[in-house]
């Protein structure tokens, strides 16, 4: 599941993306000097409670973090060995809290709202003549097409297995590449047929100047 967004209405969904991201930044700074494990534990519990207020779908996403546990265990052990038990526990709790909060924002913020909130930060790039909307667009496209490409991989794998393909799976790289290029051709065509990506930029700018129509 790449598109993590949970389609529902919760209080967190209603909060604007900018406020959520600012809150995350503030909490990150706030947690940094905290030395008492009990305080951090409180933050961690509050974070988990926030998941609960969003609902069952959000809580279920916590299971997805299972894959991160070995990594956390490793960091904890290394820190314990190098700086001691208490600082290791602090570090892991701080990291866990922040990752969970960031993940919660991903779960409750739509892609385009997130982009609208983040895009002003890229404004300096415009001085270098880089079209920031294109960056936003590329991110959106990537998120949209990962499940599509996964389906292509699965189809190829099925076709491979159905004919007794064997273990030399690397040989699928070339057909996968060819299919991806074909896919990108079709997407480019569909994109052009609906007005392309260059026009929204110019039209938005025209809107801002109030001279459009």
């Amino acid at each position: 599941m790449i598109s993590l967004y949970i389609a529902q209405k919760s209080w967190l969904h209603r909060l604007s993306a900018g406020i959520k991201l600012l809150f995350l930044a503030a909490i990150s700074l706030l947690l940094y000097p905290v030395e008492q494990p009990s305080v951090l534990l409180l933050f961690l519990i509050a974070t988990l409670l926030a998941y609960a207020t969003v609902g069952y779908a959000a809580l279920r996403q916590l299971l997805a973090l299972k894959t991160l546990l070995p990594l956390f265990a490793l960091i904890f052990l290394l820190q314990w060995w190098s700086v001691g038990f208490a600082p290791a526990a602090l570090l892991v709790m701080r990291m866990l809290t922040l990752i969970l909060l960031a993940n919660l924002i991903t779960l409750t913020t739509r892609m385009d709202d997130m982009m609208d909130a983040v895009m002003p930060l890229f404004a300096p790039l415009r001085l270098l003549k880089i079209e920031t909307r294109r960056i936003a667009f590329a991110v959106t496209l990537l998120i949209r097409f990962i499940p599509v490409l996964m389906a292509v991989v699965n189809h190829l794998l099925d076709a491979w297995k159905a004919r007794g393909g064997g273990r030399k799976l690397w040989r699928l790289v070339i057909p996968l590449t060819i299919q991806s290029i074909r896919l990108s051709d079709s997407v480019a065509e569909a994109l052009a047929a609906r007005g392309g990506i260059s026009s929204p930029l110019t039209q938005d700018q025209l809107h801002q100047k109030g001279s459009f129509r």
């Binding site: 389609a7 949209r144 392309g196 039209q203």
Partner: protein
């Protein structure tokens, strides 16, 4: 709305020739399309897809002129998108955004509609089609038929005068095809559809049968479709 809505115009091909990768695809094609429901048939490689891509400027002719409801596709597909809606075969190659609402508002925002207004129009069209709960849905969670409906709605929102459908139902089951066909048949737009499912075209006003880049037969469905079917049975293509 930047496109003035007209379903009464016609599409004119005047001595149009096109080659792709040095292969001639269409040769000296002359056509006047006035009917509201037009089906395009022909074997693979007969030039159907190229012909419809000339209408919205995705392809440009080598020679000849094309007029689409008073506009020239020479202005390119971006400009033509407000007047010609295009539905492709595979919705997965056409849907660009992760959620339904973003997908539907994209074309509108390209036309200069503000984000707020675009979202309102999206909510309206979803409500009109009893799909209000779809706005926040992830497109990859939809079925193929539902995805194709999203594609159709996203094009309809742009209020084009012409809708082009390039084998839109080839991956869909029969009930889904019937439902989408019901929806399409009620549209005021001029419809130009490529299809291999001949029964879908039976209610159309005019069928054009292309063969090697030229019009082979042109007439009402009760004449052209049976002739096409009979020819297809005789033909050795493998």
């Amino acid at each position: 709305m930047s496109s003035e809505f007209s379903a009464s115009g016609s599409i004119v091909f005047d001595q149009v020739s096109l080659s792709r990768n040095a292969h001639p695809v269409l040769h000296d094609l002359c056509l006047q399309l006035n009917e509201r429901r037009i089906g395009l048939i022909g074997h693979n490689g007969s030039g159907k897809s190229s012909l419809v891509r000339l209408i919205n400027g995705l392809l440009q002719p080598d020679s000849g002129n094309i007029d689409v409801h008073g506009r020239s596709p020479r202005s390119g597909p971006e400009k033509m998108s407000a007047h010609v809606g295009f539905i492709f075969q595979n919705p997965d190659h056409q849907i660009i955004f992760p959620t339904v609402e973003e997908e539907l508002s994209f074309g509108l925002m390209n036309q200069g509609v503000s984000k707020k207004e675009a979202r309102q129009q999206v909510a309206d069209i979803l409500a009109k089609h009893q799909r209000s709960d779809w706005a926040d849905k992830a497109v990859h969670s939809l079925s193929d038929g539902q995805k194709q409906l999203v594609c159709i709605l996203s094009v309809l929102l742009m209020q084009p005068g012409v809708m082009i459908l390039d084998e839109p139902f080839s991956a869909l089951d029969l009930p889904t095809r019937y439902q989408l066909m019901d929806l399409l048949s009620q549209l005021p737009q001029q419809l130009l559809m490529i299809s291999h499912e001949l029964d879908t075209l039976e209610t159309f006003e005019r069928i054009i049968w292309l063969e090697q880049g030229q019009v082979f037969q042109d007439g009402p469905p009760d004449q052209v479709l049976p002739a096409y079917q009979a020819a297809a049975r005789r033909l050795q293509t493998l």
